[in-house]
């Protein structure tokens, strides 16, 4: 394995283009575009202020740089380095900025979530969407880029609006049966929208594309509820991770629970548990348990190695402070592998920021604050 030299970046803004040819990094107020194979600098753009957010358009032709403090968005073109575009939100401020799926519209959320402004780069037209909700995940595009679901709140009631991304035509607008909507997510096939409540109540609602309520699911009452939600790539399963340290899987035909996974402090019933042993005594050891892993080998084993721990294994649990809000307990990250065979879950206060599966479903990346780990799954033999 070879490593390139270390490049500077700020704000963890470092993204590969969707077509996989370019790498964009932000260094303070500069945007650096490199070729991904040679890592040569292809383009260098200078923005007016420190870049807070950077995003590639879906066709890899444009890059959006948002500067929240100044309320500015600058768009750069890869093909025409001379082309420039600057969107100034004015006194109304800017809180978040993102591309639309077709790569020609920019959605800016103003300060205090007063409204969402849709800027069109084709026609310079502006559309406004009022009353967007400020919640964990209030806006989601369907995977095929046709529809956008937006959570709204008017008169102390939650609504969901479905827009057609083509011309931002409002397709459906319906009230949801939630007290305080916290997030929504499209299923990969774009026909079901999962809507969940804030953590004070365990409630997840499933709406079809045309706004009909298909089903409601609530596992228990009173205790803290849903923490994270993930669809399987085939749209057949919906995994719900909750604060009671359990993952519940619903099926798409009856929307009832088909499986439930727990994260007990003493593991006795899984196949294998891998424990990372650090050779340096100053760094605490990081233990993870993942369901259904049959074999894994670590790639970066220069300083630590993995060994198979004999069952039962006691996982050191740090009791979170119960007096703080949003406690660090519960299943906070879920990821399905691309063939829907495996689910990776992260429970508790482990220092893992994200779980990402490789496209083939063979390996899993665990990204922590300073560390990165790749887990390889054992592919089944042909005669099985």
């Amino acid at each position: 394995m070879n490593f390139s030299e270390v490049f500077k970046q700020s704000n963890q803004l470092c993204k590969v283009s969707p077509d996989g040819k370019y790498l964009a990094t932000c260094v303070q107020y500069r945007l650096v575009i490199r070729d991904i194979n040679t890592l040569q600098i292809l383009n260098l753009y200078t923005c007016l202020d420190q870049i807070s957010h950077m995003e590639w358009s879906s066709d890899s032709l444009f890059i959006l740089c948002a500067m929240y403090k100044r309320g500015l968005v600058q768009v750069w073109s890869l093909e025409q380095p001379d082309w420039h575009c600057k969107i100034d939100e004015g006194s109304i401020g800017l809180v978040s900025s993102r591309w639309s799926p077709d790569g020609r519209h920019i959605l800016n959320t103003t300060e205090f979530h007063l409204r969402i402004t849709v800027w069109s780069l084709c026609t310079k037209a502006v559309s406004y969407i009022k009353y967007p909700k400020a919640c964990q995940k209030g806006l989601d595009f369907s995977r095929d880029g046709c529809y956008m679901a937006l959570a709204e709140r008017r008169d102390c009631k939650d609504y969901v609006s479905i827009f057609v991304c083509d011309d931002w035509h409002l397709l459906r607008h319906f009230e949801t049966e939630t007290q305080d909507l916290s997030g929504l997510e499209w299923s990969p096939n774009g026909s079901v929208l999962a809507v969940w409540e804030s953590c004070l109540e365990y409630k997840i609602l499933l709406y079809s594309l045309d706004g009909r309520l298909l089903s409601t699911y609530s596992a228990y009452e009173w205790s803290l509820g849903v923490k994270s939600v993930s669809w399987s790539p085939s749209s057949q399963f919906l995994a719900i991770g909750s604060f009671d340290e359990k993952v519940r899987i619903l099926n798409h035909i009856t929307w009832k629970k088909v499986a439930q996974f727990e994260h007990p402090a003493v593991i006795d019933n899984t196949k294998t548990v891998y424990k990372e042993i650090e050779k340096r005594p100053t760094v605490t050891s990081d233990e993870m348990s993942l369901h259904n892993i049959t074999v894994a080998s670590s790639l970066f084993s220069t300083q630590s190695k993995y060994e198979i721990s004999p069952l039962p294994v006691q996982i050191p649990v740090v009791k979170p402070d119960p007096d703080r809000a949003n406690p660090k307990i519960g299943v906070s990250a879920l990821a399905f592998s691309s063939d829907s065979r495996y689910v990776a879950t992260k429970n508790g206060g482990f220092q893992v920021h994200s779980l990402n599966w490789h496209r083939s479903g063979d390996s899993l990346t665990l990204i922590g604050k300073d560390q990165l780990c790749l887990c390889y799954m054992d592919t089944e033999q042909d005669d099985k």
């Binding site: 006194s91 084709c122 083509d166 397709l171």
Partner: protein, 516 residues
């Protein structure tokens, strides 16, 4: 006092006498009755004393009286046989007194006995009463113990309930506490947002210049899909609706197709299972007894419906599942039956099968052994025929000799061929060498000719080297002395190769140069 005493004494005596008579204890009666015959029969002569044995009677009475402690009635030493009446009367009086005293004591004793009897009765009554009371109280005690036990149990269960309730209360309190922290956190966040809004509002109101929203693009860029954008009209809206419904419908179609396939698979599996079970049960039933063949027959009739035609009907589905359930129940009962019967039937069958298999194997082995034996016999028989064997041997030897001779000739031929091949190769090599040398000579001769033709005339040098073979000397001879006949030299060199070909005796025109 004196009077009272005498009266008392008299009364007492009277009373005693009355009492005696009234009470009439059996002892007294008996005693009095026993004593009566002695008094009554005063007229009749008593058996004890007669005219004759007066002396003896007297002495006897004396003895008796003295034994009782009274003074004697008669002194024997006195000569006069007359009884002292006074002493006799005294004695009688003493005896009567004694008698009275004894009667009195008897009376007392009887009174005492009565008293004690009554006391005994009383005591008996009281014991029975007390026993009953004891029984009663024992029963009460057990009842009370039972009640106490029940109450204790109740207390325990209530304590458990209390503990549970306390735990629940604690849990709910924890939940409330966490919810409260969450609410507080949210409240604080909202308040902070509100404050920020207020500040912003103030700022905006105070701010003179209001920065407007603006977009500054160098030039418009085309749409991602390259098409021209359309106006928003009702048609487009309707189109969007239509597309949405189309997407939903296609999704539902796909799902339904999958479900139909799955359904068909499952139905097939169920049908297979049912058929397997039916066949299995039929087999079992045939082996056991034929009585149940009837119901089996009906069963077959029931299953006779055509599955392929009616699979998509709800009733068919129900029928299938019901019949499957029935078969399964039958199978289960059958297995239970077998279990209860013991393991006899099943191993026996398997044993029989195994026995048959083993028998077959044994038969096969026997056959094999027999055939082998036959062959062996045949071999032995054939080997006993010596002449035939000798003949065979002779034939063999002849064959061998012939083959050996052929081999030898072949070897000789091969060696000849090898030699000839070697010679040929040598000749070829030599020929190539000669040709090369010849070419060189020709070249030098030509050069020489040219040089000789030039004004520097007589440079005739011997150009050829001595390493060339005989043929080359022949050639060089030809070059230097034309009249030599070279054909013979050529004939010579060719004949050594074994070929007897005749070279044409023409002048080697291939030199290409005519010599003058």
């Amino acid at each position: 006092m004196f009077d009272w005493m005498t009266i008392h004494k008299k009364l007492f005596n009277k009373l005693l006498f009355c009492k005696m008579r009234n009470l009439y204890s059996p002892l007294l009666r008996h005693f009095s009755q026993s004593s009566l015959p002695l008094h009554r029969n005063t007229n009749v002569q008593s058996a004890f004393c007669t005219q004759q044995n007066v002396q003896e009677c007297l002495s006897h009475i004396n003895q008796e009286v003295s034994s009782l402690g009274l003074p004697t009635v008669w002194v024997e030493l006195d000569e006069s046989s007359d009884l002292n009446v006074v002493t006799v009367l005294n004695c009688m009086y003493d005896l009567i007194q004694l008698h009275h005293r004894s009667l009195r004591t008897l009376e007392n004793i009887e009174v005492e006995q009565l008293k004690s009897n009554s006391k005994l009765d009383y005591l008996q009554l009281s014991t029975t009463r007390l026993k009953e009371q004891l029984e009663c109280s024992k029963r009460e005690n057990t009842g009370l113990l039972e009640r106490e036990r029940q109450l204790q149990q109740k207390v325990k269960s209530l304590q458990n309930c209390l503990k549970n309730e306390k735990e629940e209360v604690q849990k709910l309190q924890n939940i409330i506490a966490s919810r409260a922290t969450q609410y507080n956190h949210d409240m604080k966040r909202k308040e902070r947002d509100l404050n920020k809004l207020k500040e912003r509002l103030n700022q905006l109101l105070a701010d003179k210049k209001e920065r407007k929203q603006a977009i500054d693009v160098l030039n418009n860029i085309g749409r991602a899909d390259g098409k021209r954008s359309v106006w928003k009209t009702e048609k487009t809206e309707a189109k969007h609706e239509g597309e949405m419904y189309k997407a939903l419908l296609s999704d539902y179609d796909a799902r339904q197709r999958d479900l139909v396939l799955e359904n068909a698979e499952l139905r097939k599996v169920l049908q297979q299972m049912k058929n397997d079970m039916v066949s299995l049960l039929r087999l079992k039933k045939l082996t056991q007894n034929g009585v149940q063949n009837q119901c089996n027959g009906t069963q077959v009739e029931e299953d006779g419906f055509d599955p392929s035609k009616e699979l998509f009907c709800v009733h068919a589905c129900e029928k299938l599942t019901n019949s499957l359930r029935l078969q399964w129940r039958r199978l289960k009962s059958h297995v239970e039956q077998l279990d209860s019967q013991g393991i006899e039937t099943v191993p026996r069958e398997s044993h029989e099968e195994e026995m048959d298999k083993l028998k077959l194997e044994v038969q096969q082995c026997k056959d094999l052994i027999q055939t082998q034996q036959h062959l062996l016999q045949h071999q032995l028989n054939s080997s006993c025929d010596e002449i035939a064997s000798l003949r065979n041997d002779g034939y063999m030897l002849q064959e061998k000799e012939r083959l050996r001779g052929e081999w030898k000739t072949l070897e000789e031929q091969r060696s000849i061929f090898d030699r000839e091949r070697k010679n040929f190769t040598e000749a070829a090599i030599r020929l190539s060498h000669e040709r090369k040398a010849f070419e060189e000579d020709r070249a030098t001769w030509l050069k020489h000719q040219f040089l000789s033709l030039s004004p520097c005339g007589d440079l005739k040098k011997p150009l050829l080297s001595d390493t060339t073979g005989a043929s080359s000397t022949g050639v060089c001879l030809f070059l230097q002395r034309p009249p030599v006949d070279i054909s013979t030299s050529f004939e010579i060199c060719i004949s050594t190769g074994g070929k007897n070909t005749q070279m044409p005796r023409s002048k080697p025109a291939y030199c290409g140069i005519k010599c003058h």
